[in-house]
Assembly symmetry: C2
Homo-oligomer: 124 residues x 2
Amino acid sequence: MKHGLSETCHLFFSTLSNPTRLAILELLRDGPKNVTEISESLNQEQSMISHNLKPLERCRFIFSERRKKKRFYALNKETMESLFKTFTYHTQKYCPTKGKCLTVRGLQKQKKKAASGPLYVNRY
Amino acid sequence: MKHGLSETCHLFFSTLSNPTRLAILELLRDGPKNVTEISESLNQEQSMISHNLKPLERCRFIFSERRKKKRFYALNKETMESLFKTFTYHTQKYCPTKGKCLTVRGLQKQKKKAASGPLYVNRY
DNA sequence: CATTCATATGAATAATTATTCAATTGATGT
DNA sequence: ACATCAATTGAATAATTATTCATATGAATG
């Protein structure tokens, strides 16, 4: 399926939907690191890190710069902190059970408890 | 690989990294719709829509409510608009070429053009 | 309570995406 | 130009995720 907006949007989010890449992003919050450092910190093959850095840079979630033999990668803080902020807020509100999202069944129970307010008013 | 934060984070973003689900979310910006309406609007099988609605609801990107025989789905506007805002801002800044992200090669050219400022200062 | 409309589910298959391993490229210092 | 360190690439395989189709459930109404 091809949907106008969805295409770029899909690239954006699919780049974020991978544990390795998320771990890299999380790690880079501490500051720029080169490939070997990332690879060692995350205990992953260096080539795998390289493979995953590429889409991150392509989407500009990270920036890179060569310093002598090493290439350092740095977080795009503005975008990433904004995303993490939204994520954290959302999670705390809707996934209160230790970061695990509720099951749909769980949702429905909770919905009943919450009594019936007006329709489609997202109760934040 | 299992990384603390990354786990929930991965569920969050992977739920968003699918063209069908993004199309659903986009559609629901116009207001609540039932499954058949969504299915018809997007020209997709009803069962596929159902399958995709589930993870969206599980992550609480949408809410649902039964109305007689129909079940209506509504966007979690707070979270989604916040994400779309970040996405749009980021895209306009970094993916100026009609929504297509730049290639890494493209990035490097642009980097050279931009002259060499101080390291790791994300130039917004 | 049988029928119809609306949605959900499960399981098989198809499609996409990740990971690994081997080889290559690139930069630097001698 | 060679040796070394650092990172990237490509292609094969593995793993994950999406889609389809057939069937089941669920709610409302005559």
